[in-house]
Point group: C2
Chain length 467, copies 2
């Protein structure tokens, strides 16, 4: 371990001399093997609820959408019971229990018929409070819990996990349990590509079910904020499936209407000290489109005095120097980058590319079609761009980089992993990226981020490799 | 007139010295005044059909979609009768009459309720043949006619009119009747922005009706191939109208399914010697989106041996040097320009900007995010880009240019007008642009275009100002 830490420190030294780091740590490029359908059977019990997952259910964190699936649509299958956890005992027998009925639907996709998908939005929860909840009936009741965030405010510490392009391979499993082994993460930011069902014949929808089961040990206990990736599109006209994003939208609800959006593919939530904007790489974003109109207004709605940390999620990265999906995000960058800089966005999270990369704070907004000024330049008002499509999905690692490493690229590595963003207060947030092969306390990439609104100083890659 | 022609010739001379022309002919910038609702009352007669319009109803020109509106949905209101015109007599009493039932719907929009919108697709027509058709019942029958195109083939002469951003002002009226005064035009290519109903409170949908009546003298007699513009979006969430393009799609059907598309906002038709691809600036066009997937396949479907002329229509221009909507098309250019060059597209038609501009054959596809090569360069494989949003709508003329005129801009002028593309054979097409103030035979801008597939030579702006 000591030798490894030393080598990382040497790499860090290289940065100071040469600019960006291309980590020499390269995972083998073989595709990650997917866990079989049988790895994730339905839970035992008659009509037992499964694939339980959470996401924020309102604008500010007092709401939660609780989602689950049952094979049958029986009386009571669509009801969640929830109550404040009684410190210590957890049976909550003397606290008020509430019930909420879900909206329920099912869908067909080619030769597949889904179970019954239940989504219950519970609101007006207490801030910063542990809740227990139960779904299921009779002998098949299952109990889970979650903790609400503190009230939205500038100096509220809060820690987000960041996982992208996860899939359901043995590597995915490593990533998820690596993340869960650290109790710090309170909510996951997930910039798209969930189950990779579309890598199987006819977009085998059973893989949506197994992914839901795989994720439950995490997703039933803390909310995940998703952006939609290309693997959520499920557009297969040759088998009659002509409605983009249909299974994803059925299975993963969110509270888009509370942010004035008309589509679950773009929306925002405020959680603790952060304002999180989710965009869709695969919807219209041209001027006048609903997403464009919404984002223009949404950026005006951000109040940095209340939520100093402004984070954007989008699936296709704008600054990517890996030789996969190179410049696929360019069309959206051209559209919105100047807005992000003008709004002093702190951080942009993307997935799509199956490697890890962190950018410098750069912008590329001076260009017009004849002036040739199309090279990214350092810009203290610009976000840091993180590409974190390294969850470990079936397509394997992306292990070929553009050469030389462009100046906008601060750190890049072909490994699977996840990141943590520990927001400390309105000025500082400790960001760390953890590759799967290391013990959890080790960060392969680490940066103390400074808030662009309250403390817009230049960050220096930290030597805090064991935080 | 002689003096005027002389001045145009002088301008032409300027080109040879300086490159692109910025015409000194500038129409006054006052907004064009809209014709009142009362200008276009419903036609006389009980439940008389109105707003009759045509578009191609199949892939290759043997089909026609006949559309009309009736105030009531009475028996027979939804039927069109059609027959081959009897040369000379036109009553067709001894030719076989056929009937086709339309699909009928109506819609509500805020406080407006539409009439009954009928769309009948008739197929298997004879090529190059005049047809008569009737809609309406009892005393309110109305008769119109159209001529089908010749069979798709490389050396079939055919003339397209080109009109964009028309609206319904007195200037629009000039443009439309100017076009109609020349019998050459056989089909109109219309790159978006039709009625400008959205410039009125609550997107006054009655303006869709008056526009339909205004257009009927032309639109009932020859097909119009539309691309959707921003004024077709009708997205007004604050009055509860949350479905983009709903009225447009209800009123203007097309045969998108026959080109394998899933949306009426992007599709193609083949007509005579031309393959016409219609794209949507206001839908998703990122990689993996339905439009992207469709266009990628569609370009492979083009057979230049059958249809040598490959024309694309899109609303928002990619090469525009007017100070209005400057670079709004950039995000889509970034996505698709290399495909157009690789496919040797002959001509790209756009609207949106209320002026006229013709580009050189240029491309800007060498750029990557770090090499700085972002300047358009001459490219014999590139299309000519025409911006022709100069139909004459209520928003008035765009009369301010970027300065100096960029090298990609061959000719630009702030005048209302229309263009003609007279395809002569598989190598030559005479293109002319006609400003409203001139007599029809005068072309303010003129170019003999050479086909990119069969005769990819450099064109030289013609001095054929009276063609």
């Amino acid at each position: 371990m000591k030798i490894f830490i030393l080598s990382v420190l040497l790499l860090s030294l290289t940065t100071l001399i040469n600019g960006g780091i291309t980590s020499k740590y390269v995972r083998q490029a073989q595709p990650a093997n997917e866990m079989s359908l049988e790895t994730f059977p339905s839970p035992a019990g008659h009509n037992a609820p499964e694939q339980v997952h959470l996401t924020q259910g309102d604008r500010d964190g007092r709401g939660m959408i609780i989602s689950w699936v049952t094979p049958l649509n029986l009386a009571g299958s669509d009801v969640v019971t929830y109550w404040i956890a009684d410190n210590g005992s957890d049976n909550g027998s003397h606290v008020k229990r509430r019930k909420k009925k879900a909206s329920t639907s099912s869908y067909k996709f080619y030769d597949y018929s889904s179970g019954f998908l239940h989504h219950a939005t519970i609101k007006n929860l207490e801030y910063d409070t542990k809740y227990l909840y139960e779904v299921g009936t009779g002998q098949s009741v299952r109990q889970f819990s979650f903790t609400t965030p503190p009230k939205v405010g500038p100096d509220v510490p809060y820690t987000f996990g960041i996982i992208g392009d996860l899939g359901q391979t043995y590597a995915s499993n490593e990533t998820l349990y690596h993340y869960m082994s650290n109790p710090k993460g309170q909510t996951i930011l997930f910039p798209g590509d969930l189950a990779y069902q579309d890598n199987h014949p006819n977009h085998d929808q059973r893989k949506w079910d197994t992914w839901g089961r795989f994720m439950e040990p995490c997703a039933a206990y803390q909310p995940i904020i998703y952006a939609a990736g290309n693997h959520e599109i499920d557009f297969v006209p040759n088998i009659g499936e002509r409605h983009a994003f249909r299974p994803y939208i059925r299975r993963y609800h969110n509270a888009f209407k509370t942010s004035g959006s008309i589509s679950p593919l773009w929306y925002s939530v405020r959680r603790g000290p952060a304002h999180i904007i989710v965009l869709s790489s695969y919807s219209g974003y041209g001027k006048y489109t609903p997403q464009y109109v919404w984002l223009e207004q949404e950026l005006k709605n951000v109040n940095r005095e209340e939520t100093p940390w402004l984070i954007v999620m989008v699936h296709s990265p704008w600054y990517n120097s890996v030789n996969y999906h190179y410049m696929e995000g360019e069309s959206m960058r051209v559209m919105f980058e100047s807005w992000f800089v003008n709004s002093k966005v702190d951080l942009v999270l993307a997935g799509h590319v199956h490697a890890y990369e962190r950018s410098e704070r750069v912008s590329n907004i001076k260009y017009n079609i004849t002036n040739g000024l199309s090279t990214p330049v350092k810009d203290p008002n610009a976000p840091i761009y993180i590409t974190i499509g390294d969850g470990g999905n079936i397509e394997g690692i992306a292990n070929s980089f553009t050469d030389p490493q462009p100046s906008y690229s601060a750190y890049r590595e072909s490994s699977f992993g996840h990141a943590l963003l520990e927001i400390k207060n309105k000025t500082h947030a400790q960001y760390t990226w953890h590759r799967n092969q290391d013990n959890e306390p080790i960060a392969a990439d680490s940066l103390m981020m400074y808030n662009r609104y309250f403390f817009p100083k230049e960050e220096i890659a930290s030597d805090c490799f064991i935080c």
